[in-house]
Amino acid sequence: MLRLAYLYRNLTRNPMRALLTCAAVALPIAIYVLSMSVVDGVNRFLDNSARQLRLAVTHRSSIINPLPAGYRAKIESLDPTRTRLLSVCGIDWIGGKIEGDPRPLSTLGADHDTFVQTFPEYRLTPEEIAEWNRDRRAIIVGAAAARQFGWKVGDRITILPSLPPYQPMEFRVISTAPRAEDPLTLWFHRQYLVEARKQAGWEEERVGFYFIKCASQADLDHFRVAIDELFANTPDETKTQDEKAFMNEFITQQFNLPRNLTILAAVTVFVAVMAAANTMSMNFRDRLNELATLKAMGFRGTLISAIIQAESLFLCAVGGLLGAAGPYVAFNHTPLRDFTVPLIQQLDVRAATCGKAMLMAVGISVLAALWPAWLAARMNVVAALRSLE
């Protein structure tokens, strides 16, 4: 009881200091949890891409440089039987917005005849596939996007593209992709985009990039090389990579999210260590006489160190708990649940990430108490008492 009372009283001795220290740990831990949740989301997204055995073909010079429309047929000719190279799908990104709504969309036009085979993970029903093939204004909207914008199957929606033709395009929602991994992307017929562009005066048809579904990993490896060889020494050379590498490059080119977030998390955790270490050092100095007296009474240096460690642990654990539980509750049990991160995923704050964050808090507490605990362990009672006279 006295041990606990002593711990508790020491912590509440300077309530403002304790509170600020808890906050100084809680905030970085929260940032760590959020950052790592995004990074994990990106990695899950990339892992999903890897499972799909797809190649992405882009212009060699830059991802934003489009390729000739005729490349699809040339690529298909590499395997006319369509047994190893299952499908080729030309894709154009138009981003887009809904009129009067600032939230950006991730809208892509795809060759409608090969979309279903290239992206089987959407697991569209036969009825949805029939609708997709029948209506040239069909659009498949990601589940989270549908929830955010309140879209249902059958709704007519108007999207203003971020790229040519820069004029509103009308669509009809034929699926909210309830079984897809990707909850954000919107898919429509690329042919519709080509026509809209023609009407607006863009004559030449080019394609942003091609996605190619392969039958096996061996085929994937084969065509990755074969396609680039096919277009070597032409004005539009290609760069073919697997979907994971493509997505990774895309994400890192756009924001380098994983790396920047990891750095952010590391820096804030370091700040937490410094804040907590400062508190523990101040606590130590403020109580030097008391600790020296304890040692004179026969408390071993290691025991006094343990007292300091315990205080540090308690402060940091409370901070860590708040910092980890905050985002967990917010992103699992409040409307923030539907918060989405651009291009990636819903922010999925998992218990495992919070658990890791709690371990970090424990680590912070150990580091924070390291210096005062060391001083306490080797404190010379006589010198300490003398310094107080």
């Binding site: 009881m1 006295l2 041990r3 009372a5 002593y6 009283r9 020491n10 509440t12 001795r13 006489n289 008391e290 020296a292 007296t293 304890l294 040692k295 004179a296 009474m297 026969g298 408390f299 071993r300 240096g301 009672v381 006589v382 008492l385 003398r386 107080l388 006279e389």
Partner: protein, 238 residues
């Protein structure tokens, strides 16, 4: 040779400051029999605190022997000394050094945490110790709710709660007025006469020293003079 007598033989204590030798004790001999109450006087800087620290196992001599009861302190490691202190000595300081956030009872209980002892027994001991110093009714007061004299009583209770053989007091009345000092000295005398504690007390105050059984004078690193106040009854001497 029975009980816990204190014997120092040819004790030297040298401090080093920037490789400069600062000799404080130079071949000091001292004998305090079990149950004695000795006052230690001397000019400032003469080494009184240093001597007290040596007797209490807070520090070790540069050379010479320090024996307290069976314990040969000059041979013991830091760790052994720490363990020894918890059982055999109680310290009383001029500035009390109580934990400000704990109650009087909790402060007195602290040293008992080093013993395997049921909580009930600990509380009982704390109660007895506080009764002895006359603060049985102030168990739940915090140091800042007590007067200086009362704080020093709590510190004394804390020093005796483990029932040590030796009590070492470094200017225990240095911060108190005459009347309060006198009460504290009465208490020390009581501990000595009724409970048989061996006491060594450093003081600057001749009236305080006169309340002990004998006064030793420390000067230039050795004990050069001794006065006996054998028959001084409680409260006289002043």
């Amino acid at each position: 040779m029975s009980g816990t007598d204190i014997v120092l033989q040819d004790v030297r204590k040298v401090y080093y400051k920037d490789r400069l030798e600062i000799p404080v004790l130079e071949g000091l001999d001292l004998r305090v029999d079990a149950g004695d109450f000795v006052a230690l006087m001397g000019p400032s800087g003469s080494g009184k605190s240093t001597l007290l620290h040596l007797i209490g196992g807070l520090d070790r001599p540069t050379s010479g022997q320090v024996r307290v009861g069976q314990a040969e302190l000059h041979r013991m490691s830091e760790r052994q000394l720490t363990a020894w202190r918890s059982r055999h000595v109680g310290f009383i300081f001029q500035m009390y050094h109580l934990v400000p956030v704990l109650t009087a009872a909790q402060n007195v209980e602290l040293p008992l945490l080093l013993f395997r002892m049921p909580a009930r027994q600990r509380r009982q001991r704390v109660q007895v110790a506080l009764d002895v110093v006359g603060l049985g009714d102030r168990m739940d007061h915090r140091p800042n709710q007590l007067s200086g004299g009362q704080e020093q009583r709590v510190a004394i209770a804390r020093a005796i709660v483990t029932d040590p053989d030796v009590i070492l007091a470094d200017e225990p009345t240095g911060d108190l007025d005459a009347a309060t000092s006198s009460e504290i000295l009465d208490l020390l005398r009581l501990l000595n006469s009724e409970f048989g504690k061996t006491i060594v007390m450093v003081t600057h105050d001749p009236r305080a020293a006169a309340r002990s059984r004998r006064t030793l004078h420390l000067d230039k690193g050795v004990l050069d003079r001794e006065e006996l106040h054998a028959a001084t009854p409680t409260g006289a001497g002043a």
